[in-house]
């Protein structure tokens, strides 16, 4: 019998709500995903639909799907990993505070988004200015996630004291790496939000330095994607080999991967700013080079995880070069987590390669801000990341609520449907982008509207393929929501426990000290941040000739509270 861990009532409630709230919001998030594809295909030719304006909906789509869902999930998952792998329960008081702050922040940010006073998209680039509640809410959400992390650190240290000779469980090393990256990254955006955007939106200061705000934002913006990805990497290393009936090919390689992410995921943010003024081409090239390094741990992952799957199939009798790919539990309803993870890996092959294109300095000129970019990141965040999170959220929900999902077949086919939808969506967006189709644009009013002077019939094929993808994805999402919410109302069948399928390593490798310590890697990270960001910050400060006042999206005149 596999080890299960009992939950205290309070912790069980916290985990339940941390999974429930973001999933409810996700319904709205994916609804507007579908609508975006319809506007962009010229099927909706209007500024709004059913009371929701395009850019307002796009803001909700980005904030809910990519920020709120992922942050709540990462915190819930982290709490659960500590409880399961260290058998230590995070302090209820701090756990409750963390949950309370995240929820309050989400509500505060949601109000202006829903009332149309924060249609600034999820990157909230100034000088577009949102209602202060939007920034304050975002800050509280982040602080809530910090509180969760601070609550784990003592447990981590305590475990080390109690077990000086053992290796820290891989899942714990992974979640620590995730939140170290998150803490360092969010510190920069906290500076932007607390010292620039909040006082400015409250009218305490009139103008702010825009190039500086953007460099601070992207200091956060790239590591954000590793905050999304690493929880799913934990699932690939720790859970997937077990589901496939195999063992983890190399435990030390897995540790190296998480530690390399700590080092390389942050000093790369300028790769989002290749086309911007204020930064020199040398700084841009340096960040491009570092971005290539951050591809290394993902390439190792592709190999180690594939080798683990191969081992699983071999132990079940697969022979030959390729048959391991077919001898996997693709259609096993009781192992429905498997397709979520494996489809994510398949999608990530394409997400990774297109990412290398984006990172390639001068090649970025072809794709920057075209819909190619949206095509790319749906192959990452809306692919492996969301699939892993949705699968694990359902899996955890089943265990912590002691209820079995009543529609396991639906839960199992969802990832396949989603993958098909995503293939259409991203193909359309990416090829359209290579033809010049811009991202973040309500194409239905102008470029995809035959009545407009700007009509571009040559984009129509690609926007139509995108819309087909949107419809398939939306139907897939409905299947998931039925399975997820159905589980919550189904009758209770067992105890409220935590359980994670956990792979053993193929070989018992000796403990390598530098693969079990965080501190040396954090030092290297700090060094690389200094190397990569000193020139960037100096340059934006030197090359900015004026600060800017705020603007609302509908008014070309500045909003000056104290003229």
């Amino acid at each position: 019998m596999e080890r299960v861990v009992k939950l205290s009532r309070f912790t069980q409630r916290i985990l339940w709500w941390e999974l429930f709230i973001p999933t409810v919001l996700l319904v709205l998030g994916v609804y507007h995903g579908l609508l975006q594809t319809l506007y962009r295909a010229g099927i909706i030719q209007s500024t709004s639909f059913l009371g929701l304006e395009y850019y307002q909906g796009l803001t909700l789509h980005g904030v809910i799907n990519a920020v709120v869902y992922t942050t709540f999930f990462a915190v819930a998952f982290g709490n659960a990993l500590f409880i399961y792998y260290l058998e230590k329960e995070p302090k209820p008081l701090w756990n409750g505070l963390s949950f309370g702050l995240m929820t309050l922040g989400t509500i505060l940010a949601a109000i202006p988004m829903l009332s149309g006073d924060a249609s600034v998209l999820y990157t909230f680039y100034p000088p577009l200015k949102a209602h202060p509640a939007f920034y304050i809410g975002a800050a509280l959400l982040i602080v809530g996630s910090w509180v969760a992390f601070f609550n784990w650190i003592p447990l981590y240290l305590e475990w080390h004291r109690e077990n000086p000779d053992k290796k820290i469980p891989l899942a714990i090393l992974g979640i620590m790496a995730t939140f170290i990256i998150w803490l360092v990254a969010t510190a920069a955006v906290a500076v932007e939000v607390l010292f620039m955007l909040i006082p400015w939106s409250l009218g305490w200061i009139n103008t702010i330095n825009i190039p500086l705000s953007r460099t601070l934002f992207w200091f956060f913006g790239h590591p954000l994607v590793y905050f999304w990805l690493l929880p799913v990497y934990i699932m690939y290393y720790v859970m997937l080999p077990k589901l496939s009936g195999g063992k983890l090919f190399s435990d030390n390689a897995a540790r190296l991967v998480f530690l390399l992410f700590i080092v390389f995921s942050i000093p790369v943010g300028v790769h989002h700013q290749f086309t911007e003024p204020g930064l020199s081409k040398d700084t841009k090239l340096l960040h491009s080079l570092f971005t290539f390094f951050v591809a290394v741990p993902s390439l190792i992952t592709a190999f180690t995880v594939a080798a683990s799957l191969e081992h699983g199939a071999w132990s079940r009798g697969a022979r030959g070069l390729f048959s391991w790919m077919f001898k996997q539990p693709y259609w096993d309803k009781d192992k429905y987590l498997f397709p979520y993870l494996v489809m994510g890996l398949v999608i990530f092959i394409f997400g990774g390669f297109t990412g290398i294109v984006n990172a390639s300095y001068n090649m970025n000129l072809v794709v920057h801000n075209t819909s190619w970019i949206s095509g790319h990141f749906h192959l990452t965040v809306a692919g492996p990341v969301i699939l892993g999170m949705l699968g694990m959220a359902l899996y955890m929900m089943e265990h912590i609520s002691g209820r079995r999902c009543p529609w396991r077949w639906g839960a199992m086919v969802f990832p396949y449907l989603w993958t098909i939808g995503l293939a259409f969506l991203s193909t359309g967006l990416m090829i359209g982008g290579l033809h010049g189709e811009p991202r973040r644009t309500n194409l239905g009013i102008t470029y995809l509207n035959p009545q407009s002077d700007l009509y571009r019939p040559d984009w129509e094929t690609w926007t139509t393929i995108t819309a087909i993808g949107g419809v398939i994805l939306f139907i897939a999402a409905l299947v998931y929501f039925i399975a997820f919410f159905g589980t919550l109302i189904w009758t209770k069948a067992g105890d409220e426990v935590l359980y994670f399928p956990t792979s053993e390593p193929l070989h018992e490798e000796r403990k390598v000290a530098w693969l079990n310590q965080l501190a040396p890697w954090i030092m290297v990270l700090i060094f690389l941040i200094v190397v990569a960001y000193t020139p960037a910050i100096v340059e934006v400060l030197e090359n900015t000739y004026a600060n800017a006042p705020g603007y609302t999206p509908a008014n070309p005149l500045p909003q000056l509270p104290n003229p």
Binding site: T47, Y55, Y125, P127, L128, N209, I210, P211, R214, S250, N252, L256, F274, T275, E276, P277, G278, L279, S280, K281, L285, L289, F292, F293, A295, V296, L299, I300, F303, T304, A307, I356, S360, Y361, N362, M363, N364, L365, V366, H368, N369, T370, G436, P438, R439, R440, T441, N442, L443, T446, Y447, L454, V540, Y545, A546, A548, Y551, A554, P556, P558
Partner: protein, 145 residues
């Protein structure tokens, strides 16, 4: 870690090195560069097209909610154009379709890129960064004769 795994790590490094070498080749040998910082250009508020010589122009673009100034320029084929770009209000984008010209108009800084227009025809320029409710109509043209 197994030997195969060490080979994979080494192989990944080599593959990435080859790709990065291609980037460097395109930049150093072919001269395909991303925008650099520029110095010595005074901040300006009005857009204009200035002729330096028969086939050399300076185009000072002002991006604003929701158009580019000056709108629609006409230049002869083969002309080298130094493109400068500032924003009067929020952040805008600037992409000349069919070329490698791709810039951001960020308030407080001047963006710059040079392009030689060898092919005759009409080039579409569009704003590709969200800049408010009129973003989807922010567009201009370059006519190369």
């Amino acid at each position: 870690m197994e030997r195969t795994e060490r080979y994979i790590i080494a192989g990944s490094l080599v593959a990435l090195a080859v790709l990065f070498a291609a980037v460097l080749y395109a930049s150093q040998v072919k001269g395909i560069e991303v925008p650099d910082c520029i110095t010595g250009v005074e901040p300006y508020k009005e857009g204009s097209l200035q002729k330096i010589s028969d086939n050399h122009y300076q185009w000072f673009v002002v991006a604003r909610m929701w158009n580019f100034e000056p709108a629609e320029i006409t230049i002869p084929a083969g002309a080298t154009v130094d493109i400068y770009l500032v924003s009067k209000d929020v952040v805008h984008g600037f992409q000349i379709l069919g070329t490698n010209v791709n810039l951001m108009a960020v308030p407080g800084a001047i963006a710059y890129q040079r392009h030689v227009f060898n092919k005759k025809g009409t080039y579409d320029v569009l704003c590709h960064e969200y800049c408010g409710v009129g973003h989807q109509q922010m567009h201009t043209k370059i006519i190369v004769q």
